[in-house]
Amino acid sequence: MSQLVIKDQIPDEQYLTSGHLACPGCAGAMAMNLVLKALGPETVVVLPACCWSIIAGPWPQSSLKVPLYHTAFETGAAVASGVKAALEQRGDHDTTVMVWAGDGGTFDIGLQALSGAAERNEDILYCCYDNEAYMNTGVQRSSSTPWGAWTTTTPAAHPETHVKKDILSILAAHRIPYAATATVAFPADLVTKVEKAKAIRGMRFIHILAPCPPGWKTADEATVELARMAVRTRIFPLMEVEHGDRWCFTGEHPGDPVEPYIRKQGRFRHLNDDQIASIQDEVNARWEVLNRRVAYGG
């Protein structure tokens, strides 16, 4: 998308304040900023344990200008269900209740509560900002960590042996009204999806890829570039799924080779050419699967 069109699609008001405690170049902070811009002030954020537990600021601070509830790691979707129920009971039918969880709180420990909320079609928006490992505790692998990646619990001598969990398909399988992927490199796409999600009643899920400079061992300024490469290489396609069966791509996925993306990251430094080729094969195969879903429904 042309640079000069992007700004027209990003609302001006900000609901995140400076002085938050994200690392330099944090995509999680960028994403929160953009998502809240799209949601506006009538929002309650439920925040299970994740990097954002720190980024939000220690007591007595808050870096958000909307209400925020810090909660236990595995409870995001459940607490949000309760918040929404209470708002409804008190006559507030407009406020968006958003869970803002990391990949650990979504793919791993919070999956049960998330599945429950999804199955109940709770009227909440669940955003997972995915930095592909437990970054706040010092880069341990999660089920979102991609194959071949170094983390402190998958050392370079024995890196991650499983492919990243397909969380979008898991959510789609719950037949929720709306599930999507997005990332910070395409802010208009992200904001559009959040705005769309905001207008939908029922369970909404947005999976936001959030490159992490310290955890991915990349330069601070490369965050957006990496997110863009992840999309262009089809490693992280931008998608929407409605009611679990209407799949579509949003934006361009030219299929750039994965190698520059992999080589740009210190967490993959130990991989040899054959291993990178196998990642390419996996991406290619996955792309075929997604195209079939787009063509024939999921």
Binding site: S53, P60, P67, L68, T71, S81, V83, A86, A113, G116
Partner: protein
């Protein structure tokens, strides 16, 4: 209105009359009838509550926390394994000062599987910051359920009402059900001091450094202290309205007693029967029923137990490696009384996993206690093989 209902349904009625706004629960025997009845009430629009049928007790408590944090009146019910699964979030509700009411049906924890009554589930949650109230009858269950909301909201602490599996949960008794008007007069709509409100945005539960963390825990402790008086006020108000009161601690025929039994839950009813028999024989035996376990009614127990020669505590629970939990708490409470007034305390562990505690069992305990000069050991297990 008098109705013959089970203890579980007494809870449901209390929750309904309290105009609970959000209910979230997960099925577990022997609690299930509570939420079944509440589901029926919601479906029939007799109760205008959102019932979130979650996928686990953990999420049930989480949903209650979310609802309570948003200013609503929230309720859940569970038992045994379910309560254990909630453990982390019981702390969250306590530390977050969310006035949630939870009905726990006392049931033994596995393994092996056991669905019968046992207090270990609720007593394991002793340090989570919850007020705990143990009930003896279905009437008390209903009354306490309604009072629990008022008490919780008065001191911003969650309240657990506890009743024995089957002996109360599934046993029908006549219960006088107050009218909605009576309950409304007693329990107004909740007005939260803090809540998640876009009009007044705050963050709750952020990282707290050691200096402030301890201040917050101190205030939690003070709220628990305040809870003792608050309980008395709430009960006095209830009593004025409906003429029923139970007390945080109840003394039954305790005057001039040489031996006082200390009980909680339904064992109390059995013990009352035994005490009546012994008094009929002219024996100076009485009973103290402990309803409130947290905050612990230390002062009241000292007043009742100091100077009594012999105290026999009946614990349907055990802290492995130590002893019956009520007994340990009472020993601790009485340590500070003058040595000559300090009773001999016999701590009996009995009835675990729902084993029947019959009048002969209690009678034997009385005799054994009176006969002994000192307890043989801290934990006196009743009816186990040597």
């Amino acid at each position: 209105m008098k109705k013959v209902i089970m203890g579980n349904h007494a809870v449901s009625w209390g929750v309904k009359l309290a105009r609970t706004e959000v209910i979230s629960a997960y099925p577990i025997t022997p609690q299930t009838q509570i939420v079944e009845e509440l589901s029926e009430m919601c479906a029939a629009r007799e109760l205008d509550a959102r019932f979130i049928k979650v996928e686990s007790e953990h999420s049930a408590m989480a949903a209650c926390i979310g609802a309570s944090a948003t200013g609503a009146r929230a309720f859940t019910a569970t038992s045994s394994q379910g309560l254990a699964l909630m453990h982390e979030l019981l702390h969250w509700a306590g530390g977050g000062r969310h006035p949630i009411v939870l009905a726990n049906i006392n049931r033994a924890l596995g393994p092996g599987w056991n669905i019968w009554t046992d207090q270990n589930d609720s007593l394991s949650q002793r340090d989570t910051g919850w007020i705990q109230l143990y009930c003896e009858t279905n009437q008390e269950v209903l009354d306490t359920t309604i009072q629990a909301f008022k008490l919780a909201e008065a001191v911003d602490l969650p309240v657990m009402i506890v009743l024995d599996a089957f002996f109360l949960s599934h046993t029908s008794e006549p219960v006088d059900i107050p009218t909605q008007e009576e309950v409304d007069a007693f329990l107004p709509r909740r007005e939260a001091r803090y809540k998640l409100d876009p009009a007044e945005p705050h963050a709750f539960g952020a990282l707290v450094r050691p200096d402030a963390y301890m201040e917050m825990r101190w205030q939690q402790q003070e709220a628990m202290e305040a809870g003792r008086q608050a309980f008395d006020r709430v009960e006095a108000e209830w009593s004025e309205l409906l003429g029923r009161a139970y007390g945080a601690v109840e003394a039954y025929r305790a005057d001039d007693a040489e031996l006082l039994l200390v009980t909680s839950g339904t064992i109390t009813s059995t013990a009352r029967h035994v005490v009546d028999e012994r008094r009929a024989n002219g024996e100076p035996v009485g009973l103290v029923k402990v309803k409130m376990f947290r905050p612990f009614p230390t002062e009241k127990l000292r007043e009742l137990l100091a100077g009594v020669p012999c105290v026999a505590v009946l614990d349907r629970n055990v802290s492995p490696g130590h002893g019956g939990i009520f007994a340990e708490e009472i020993r601790s409470a009485l340590y500070d009384v003058a040595l000559e007034a300090r009773p001999k305390i016999f701590g009996y562990v009995l009835g675990l996993g729902g084993r029947d505690v019959t009048p002969p069992v209690i009678s034997e305990i009385i005799d054994r206690s009176l006969a002994a000069r000192e307890p043989e050991r801290e934990d006196l297990w009743v009816g186990v093989n040597p």
